[in-house]
């Protein structure tokens, strides 16, 4: 055995620890399932606290909203009649309850109108432990039928997809994450292009040719091409359009779902293509999943279409793990 001088021991230890972790990283890149055990353990250990925390916060919030937050209002209104105070208190309480009821009713209505699509409601109990990734944790997992690559939505629009499912918890990659993407098209013109996260609040629509006409305010919906999300779910609204580096436009999309204020979501319990009823109009489109028929106008547009198809085909497996 070669004796290591004590002053170099920590350096040797550092080298060993870093090399082991680099190997761990390399193993995960080449083998899908390696190294997930520690993730399962940690998530299992942490999720009860998150669950308890979510419960505690909802209780504290409820108490705060229904009582303490009104103490300021009560002080401000001391000059007013007591009757006014009582009415304001009641209105405030009713508003908080109505807001929650509206939210839950929205989820329920959505589920009822889509009764043929298997889905389950879930509560958001945690988020990513690092600022660079847009990930949330749900209070439902494998026991509720949730599997990897299932779509997550709200009645407002697409939220993201399940990237890991544990026994009672699921990890969801939000649409705003850099690694995220969804097959999409512009509702009015049916121009198809994947929409991906940028790490910023706005999404990016990447492969729309400079020759295509796109207007701010147009709606972006799912195309169904990624085989994760059904067709015609709202993705967002065009917020910015510029002529980009040829041949593609620079397009930013504001997500329809409020991704920074998620409390309840719906998980689509299938990775098979499904056709959803539209919320308005009432006609149940029984059309088969769409074929890739982008509006190809010229060579640039053909290139765009080619890239779109490649990207959409690749997206369901885009997570490095």
């Amino acid at each position: 055995m070669v004796a290591i001088p004590s002053r170099h021991r920590s350096l040797v230890l550092l080298t060993i620890v870093v090399v082991v972790q680099v190997l761990l990283l390399a193993l995960q890149i080449t083998r899908e399932s390696q190294g997930s055990l520690i993730r399962v353990w940690t998530v299992s250990a942490v999720s009860p606290f998150e669950r308890a925390g979510a419960w505690g916060v909802s209780k504290v919030r409820g108490t705060w909203r229904h009582y303490f937050a009104l103490s300021d209002t009560a002080r401000e209104n001391e000059r007013l009649k007591q009757e006014n105070d009582a009415l304001k208190l009641q209105i405030s309480q009713l508003r908080a309850k109505a807001s929650e009821a509206d939210r839950l009713a929205g989820l329920l209505n959505f589920r009822e109108t889509q009764e043929r699509v298997p889905m389950v409601g879930a509560r958001v109990i945690g988020s990513s432990a690092d600022a660079n990734s847009a990930v949330i944790y749900l209070d439902r997992g494998q026991h509720d039928g949730i599997k990897k690559n299932m779509g997550v939505i709200t009645p407002d629009g697409v939220v993201g997809k399940v990237i890991e499912s544990f026994s009672d918890t699921a990890q969801v990659l939000l649409l705003t994450d850099r690694d995220s993407g969804v097959g999409a098209m512009i509702e009015e013109t049916r121009i198809q292009s994947p929409v991906g996260g940028t790490g910023e609040p706005l999404l990016s629509m990447k492969y729309v040719s400079n020759d295509d006409e796109v207007k701010i305010g147009e709606h972006v919906v799912t195309s169904g091409m990624d085989r994760i999300f059904p067709r015609d779910l709202p993705v967002g609204t065009i917020a910015e359009v510029k002529v980009g580096a040829p041949p593609f436009k620079f397009i930013r999309v504001r997500p329809s779902a409020q991704l920074e204020k998620l409390e309840e979501v719906i998980v689509l319990l299938t990775t098979d293509p499904v056709v959803m009823k539209k919320k308005t109009g009432g006609s149940d489109s029984a059309a088969p999943p769409p074929q890739a028929k982008p509006a190809v106008k010229d060579t640039a547009a053909k290139t765009a279409a080619g890239k779109r198809s490649q990207e959409q085909a690749a997206k369901p497996a885009d997570n490095p793990r």
């Binding site: 606290f49 660079n132 990237i163």
Partner: protein, 174 residues
């Protein structure tokens, strides 16, 4: 191991601090839970990297490179487990930061708030640099080296760090 003692070299006078039992474990778990939980309700909190601040603080205080790097490794791997990142990404970054913080802590007096502010800001930027380097080299993710948001986050973390360290100082053995 229970009492504070001094490293004396020439005119330098650097104290190695010990903490009440369970302090490091509790602080680590608390930081990870807060980091994973609060952003659900207050998204801006995601700017903070509390596990990194804990790594830096105990590295600077304990001043033992081996302990610092091992603590950094554990915290980093736990943070990886709660993120979508491959296991080892934050592990490597925090291992190196734990080692550097402990090494610097053993040579400099890092008790002054200004020194702590500057060191935390530098360590935060270095940590992000290591994360980006690993992402570029091993994961083929072309993450940007510098953004305005990163600079702001470094300042915010440095400021929060100074306050957090003040409270953690209370948990030292006198």
């Amino acid at each position: 191991m229970n009492d504070a003692f001094d490293l004396r070299s020439g005119e330098t006078h650097i104290e190695v601090h010990k903490f009440r039992g369970g302090t490091i474990l509790f602080a680590t778990i608390f930081a990870l839970l807060v980091q994973a939980f609060l952003p659900v309700y207050w998204p801006k909190v995601a700017t903070l990297d509390l596990p990194l601040l804990i790594t830096i603080y105990f590295g600077l205080s304990r001043r033992n490179p081996s302990t610092g790097l091992l603590l950094g490794m554990v915290i980093g791997l736990l943070q990886d487990s709660l993120s979508k990142t491959p296991l080892g990404l934050f592990g490597i970054a925090k291992t190196l930061i734990g080692y550097l913080a402990s090494s610097i802590g053993a040579k400099l007096d890092t008790e002054h708030p200004a020194a702590r502010f500057a060191l935390t800001g530098v360590f935060f930027a270095l940590h992000q640099g290591i994360v980006v380097l690993v992402q570029r080299l091993l994961l083929a993710h072309a993450e940007p080296w510098f953004t305005i948001r990163l600079a702001v986050a470094a300042l915010v973390n440095a400021a929060v760090g100074v306050v957090l360290y003040f409270f953690l100082d209370r948990l030292r053995k006198s």
